[in-house]
């Protein structure tokens, strides 16, 4: 029981990170119908910028405290947003309205570029960071086993919920959110009604990158070890989460992320660590066999 509770806490905090990345995938997919394969690497960039920001702050003498973490988060969000914007501008905008596979290949190319860019500029070695936030709350004690709800995990859950709440407000209540939803429904019609679709799509990428930056920062705080390759696996998992929840659906992405996080954690805890990815993928395949558009996805009406 205590063990399961601990896994639940771990799984939710991991799932939150996946969910944040998955939202970026699903937003881009909803609005322009392409898989942004480089999104996982944008997450990796976010983690690296956060690492650099942490080191800069420690040079400046500010070591810990909520203000430092907030600064790191903001720095990572700002720089990563710029990366997201540039990515869209360079690799996807010229291909707008082109056929479906061209942006996909372009995205895979961009993913290779980003990975190798970071490998060259920051080195291939794994970067270990001393944990910034230590300690936690003891939730339950079962004999020698102590269920620990660490401050980092609390931070992850709190920050993710706050960011997602802000994001939901943005999408449902602001003019930009309305423009985004309009573009998602019918881009041509939205353009006819005076929405600057190019700008809206750019901002979608910027917002997606910002969320990925939050995920990257949280990943750095939680695991403390990053390298240039973390983006691939996290990206694939998050994409799986987005598809599991129904690609294009924002609540679906978060739900899918949580599910993937929980499946992975529980599988590694009770069965085998080696096959945790196989478990996550198997659930995906099984879900899609019975619900071909994911858990919360809309059935697309297709006409000849």
């Amino acid at each position: 029981m205590a063990y399961a509770l601990q896994q639940l806490i771990n799984g939710i905090s991991l799932g939150m990170i996946y969910g944040l990345i998955a939202v970026g995938y699903t937003m881009v997919y909803g609005i322009i119908g392409m898989i942004n394969f480089a999104h996982g690497d944008v997450f990796m960039i976010g983690a690296f910028v956060a690492l650099i920001a942490v080191l800069l702050l420690s040079l400046g003498g500010v070591m810990d405290g909520p203000a430092a973490i907030l600064l790191v988060l903001l720095a990572s969000m700002a720089v990563t947003a710029l990366y997201g914007w540039t990515l869209e501008r360079l690799a996807y905008r010229p291909l707008r309205g082109s056929f479906r596979l061209a942006p996909l290949i372009s995205a895979i190319g961009m993913s290779i570029v980003l990975q190798n860019y970071v490998q060259i500029s920051q080195g291939a070695r794994v970067k270990p960071l001393e944990p910034l936030v230590r300690g936690g709350v003891e939730v339950m004690r079962d004999g020698p086993f102590v269920v620990q709800f660490s401050y980092v995990q609390m931070l992850i859950i709190a920050v993710t919920l706050a960011v997602l709440a802000a994001f939901t407000l943005l999408v449902t209540r602001t003019p930009l959110g309305r423009a985004m939803r309009a573009c998602e429904q019918d881009r041509k019609m939205a353009a006819l009604l005076g929405i600057d679709t190019d700008r809206t799509i750019s901002l979608t990428f910027v917002i997606g990158a910002t969320l990925a930056a939050v995920a990257g920062t949280m990943y750095l705080l939680r695991y403390g070890v990053i390298d240039f390759y973390i983006g691939f696996l996290a990206g694939v998992k998050a994409f799986t989460a987005a598809v599991l929840g129904g690609i294009g659906s924002l609540p679906g992405a978060v739900l899918g992320g949580l599910l993937i996080g929980l499946i992975e954690t529980f599988w590694s805890a009770y069965f085998s660590v080696q096959y945790k990815d196989v478990a996550a993928f198997s659930i995906l395949v099984l879900t899609l066999i019975f619900l071909p558009t994911g858990l919360l996805g809309r059935q697309e009406v297709e006409k000849v």
Partner: protein, 449 residues
């Protein structure tokens, strides 16, 4: 096409004739300055501040502002040159015929036979050494994989991101059958193909109902699952250490050993024993396998099955309404594509004599898919050209060391931005009334499966 034209005319400033150059230069300067500013924002944290691991284990920052300045300068100059050269419209993707397209089309008629002839005599061209032959084998392997995937993606229009799984199945089938049962390469080759095709069908079944990107992620998941199993099933596959000592193929029972005995290749034909013989043999082996893939594809395109694939790619619902069995068409496309992947895998195993899960990562699938799309979906010659450009070019950039992958990825983006329909912009329709004429690639569907 018309959209492109619209944008171009919009972008031109409506100023007087005399103002235009100066204004253009000003706009270009402003534009380039903005780009440089963005570049500063991008590079200042990531390039300017390098995190290094100190000997004590902690991290410290090292600044490299000079590099940032150089990079921003490069971005500034590039953007300036680009804007001045193209006007404000920037780079435009194009599938439209260019002036030189017609000339290229004429030359294209001789291009494929010429390429084939060069490939045929390559081992005997003076100056071609071991290195060039090895590169030729590598390129031909990718040509074959590209042609195999082309059946699934280019003809049937099913986006497969896990093609490398079948390559892995072929390679491991050959290695395990040859090592455990002592079967020869020539028996294992068809077996590897059959096993891979079987896996193609097995993985094809669950995805029959899926469309578009759902299909893409599931195929990707299958590819990763097979790799994870290969890594972890240590008792069968040797895990991350892989399998070594895989037997080499023989030439009608004659081995390629250096002893010069009568039962070796060199001894039987009275040649000087040379390690080059085996390389040349492997070269022709993969050449023949690749040609087989091409031939089967071309023949199938004329048959009901191939036509059903292409109809399915153009419109699945209409195709179903016309009474074509979609299940058969999809599964056969997966099976045939997988079979050729399996052949290529068996060849890969026998050539390397060592395989490990390292060789079957997602990047491999992405490379093969990139070759198919960069060459031009459904175009056989396009795939060959793209394999030559990407794999050959990749080797060419060897001296760049770690920059090589960066250039590789950048080239993928650039080719797609400039030629979204691939390097070869025309397709030959499988069926035509009267004379077959090359048509624009944008007239061919891309499939939604």
């Amino acid at each position: 096409m018309s959209r492109t034209e619209d944008r171009r005319s919009q972008a031109r400033p409506a100023a007087g004739e005399s103002d235009r150059p100066r204004q253009g230069a000003l706009i270009a300067l402003k534009d380039a300055a903005l780009s440089a500013l963005v570049a500063l924002g991008l590079f200042a944290p990531m390039v300017g501040l390098r995190t290094d691991v100190a000997p004590s284990g902690g991290l410290y920052l090292r600044t490299r502002w000079a590099d940032v300045a150089i990079l921003c300068g490069i971005v500034f100059m590039l953007r300036l040159a680009l804007v001045l050269w193209t006007g404000r419209r920037g780079l435009q993707p194009s599938t439209a015929p260019r002036p030189w397209t017609l000339w290229l089309q004429k030359a294209g008629r001789f291009f494929a036979p010429a390429l084939l002839a060069v490939a045929l005599v390559l081992p005997f061209i003076p100056g071609v050494e071991r290195y060039e032959l090895d590169l030729g084998i590598l390129v031909l392997t990718y040509v074959m994989l590209g042609w195999g995937l082309n059946i699934v993606v280019g003809l049937a229009g099913l986006l497969d991101l896990g093609y490398v799984a079948f390559y892995a199945v072929g390679a491991y089938s050959y290695a395990l059958l040859a090592l455990n049962f002592g079967l020869s390469f020539w028996i294992c080759l068809p077996l590897a193909g059959i096993l891979a095709a079987f896996w193609g069908i097995l993985l094809g079944f669950p995805v029959l109902r899926l469309r578009g990107d759902y299909l893409a992620i599931v195929t990707l998941a299958f590819g990763e699952m097979i790799r994870i199993v290969l890594v972890n099933w240590v008792s069968l596959t040797g895990g991350p250490n892989g399998i070594s000592g895989i037997p080499r193929p023989s030439f009608f029972g004659l081995s390629f050993s250096m002893s010069g005995d009568p039962d070796t290749f060199a001894g039987y034909f009275g040649l000087e024993p040379s390690p080059l013989h085996r390389v040349i043999f492997l070269y022709y082996l993969i050449f023949a396998l690749a040609l087989l893939t091409n031939w089967v594809t071309l023949r199938l395109r004329r048959q009901p099955l191939g036509r059903a694939w292409e109809a399915m790619r153009e419109d699945e619902i209409a195709c179903r309404a016309l009474g074509i069995n979609i299940t058969t068409a999809k599964l056969s496309a997966f099976a045939l594509g997988a079979m050729f992947g399996g052949f290529a895998g068996a060849f890969f195993a026998t050539r390397q004599a060592f395989i490990s899960p390292e060789s079957f990562t997602f990047i491999e699938s992405a490379t093969i898919l990139a070759i198919v799309v960069l060459g031009g979906l459904g175009s056989q010659i396009g795939v060959a050209v793209a394999a030559l450009v990407m794999i050959g070019g990749f080797e060419f950039f060897r001296q760049f060391g770690e920059w090589r992958m960066l250039v590789f990825g950048g080239a993928m983006v650039l080719i797609m931005v400039l030629r979204p329909r691939g390097l070869v912009g025309t397709r030959t329709p499988s069926v035509a009334l009267g004379e077959k004429r090359a048509i624009g690639a944008n007239l061919i569907g891309e499939g939604r499966g």
